[in-house]
Subunit: 318 residues, 2 copies
Amino acid sequence: MSGGAAPIAVVGAGLVGAGWAIVFARAGHAVRVFDEAPAVRDGVMALIAANLRDLKSFGLIDEAPEAVLARIAVVPTLEDAAAGAAYVQESVYETVAAKRAVYAVLDRAVPPTAPIGSSSSGIPASAFTADCATRRRMLIAHPVNPPYLLPLVELVPAPWTVSECIDATFALMAAAGQEPIRIAREVEGFVLNRLQGALLNEAWALYAEGYASLADIDKTVSMGLGLRWSFMGPFETIDLNAPSGVADYARRLGPLYHAVALSRTAPRAWDEALIARVARERRVALPAAELDSRRAWRDRRLMALAAHKKKTAKDLGS
Amino acid sequence: MSGGAAPIAVVGAGLVGAGWAIVFARAGHAVRVFDEAPAVRDGVMALIAANLRDLKSFGLIDEAPEAVLARIAVVPTLEDAAAGAAYVQESVYETVAAKRAVYAVLDRAVPPTAPIGSSSSGIPASAFTADCATRRRMLIAHPVNPPYLLPLVELVPAPWTVSECIDATFALMAAAGQEPIRIAREVEGFVLNRLQGALLNEAWALYAEGYASLADIDKTVSMGLGLRWSFMGPFETIDLNAPSGVADYARRLGPLYHAVALSRTAPRAWDEALIARVARERRVALPAAELDSRRAWRDRRLMALAAHKKKTAKDLGS
């Protein structure tokens, strides 16, 4: 890790932006962080420092936390972050209005060939970059939170994004240890949230119809489906699940899955009555006062899992 | 683990049945295994022995493999397996005709109060137990393969299954270290394959429409969604993903997921042309000749993950 890697601007320093600062600084980049809220700017270095100490304790960074932290600087203006950046990761509040306002500045202030990736999880880049003179270098680079533990990054072009900027962002992310994927064109929810949404919609429907409790539906994933999926994707999983591979599997199981799809052609929205039932059952399982400690538990489990995956990929292959 | 635990019959000794023999023997039960194919009967003990050695090497059994193996006996007739069994796990070939023929014998030969669970992954118990005099003690006990590494078991009653038999099967499975869940009534695909099918249908559709490669869709899960899901279910995941919990999350993201569902109300079957495209891309990623070695890799990764989950649940909580 040399401190000579290209400087990165992180714009928006909530949980997502703070996570990105760790990703880039861990990879050796100088990182300039900006948030329009002074309270966020004042607090973000302490948050990052705490996360770096946790990462160190799980063996997930090689350097001392202070060495990584030393590459991160919080700056007082958006222009300060943008000036001289080789790449910008934008993670501001997810509304079209908020993003448009920031992109109007980035359009002018970021060196003209530097790609600008947005952490937007749902709004496509075309919705907030259309009016930018340099829109050709703007794209979606959607992470999973926190990005320093969940490496996937979805790269989604707007209709005007040039392939050079996709390629440069891909190379930058891969070099930083992330796992970028290329999505051919804009689609609502991109790939990750479409897959998650498909499973969630079925889970909510099964619960609404009284087939199983939330806890039992959760176990179906955490004690079953999710285990293989933590190191293999759904296509590889089914490819290995029939003697002669995926074609064999698809012919055997395809009709069942098509029947499942045909049973859900009148999707029900998650209405307030259903949301209230789900929330009530979850609040019995986990009182609201324990949400924060459970999130800390989740993050420790994710760190332990990341360390496990690193080790088993080395020992057993990936 | 005492050898005094109730004797179990495992009927059908393919990969699934052999896996069940390990689950019950590992928990201290005497296990009698039957398969109608002499070649399967002749080979199953060697397969089980090899799996037990692997489990031992990953720290997943406490006893010597030979001690577990000594509790398993292959018997020459279905009646020999059934006689005196406290529970029967049936894993014969998944057709209604094959199951009906076996259940006609089990109906008479198994002690009348012993529950009989079927490993059927799709056919509901009502389709093959309707004509049995003792159908009230018959149910689905659907595992994930291999059951000694993936603990989930779906318990699904037929309309005539009595709750005492569900409860007894639940208690037996839980005592053996499995994670049973209760499904209220029959539904096509039960819960696990409905959730898997929902995600797979979306994955196949995204691929068919050219949004991403198989490898990139797979990464979305193995480097993103699947990590949390390997230790938390989908409801707990979203409950922790919004500041005030699942209701908050559902109001924010529900409309996006509903839009995803509304975009899929005309589901496309996995037709032969699409299957051929998927198979071609998978066979480039993994030649057919390497399917078996990749399956061995998957099983080692699952063993390492099972050991990791055991340890982190102890160290960090579950």
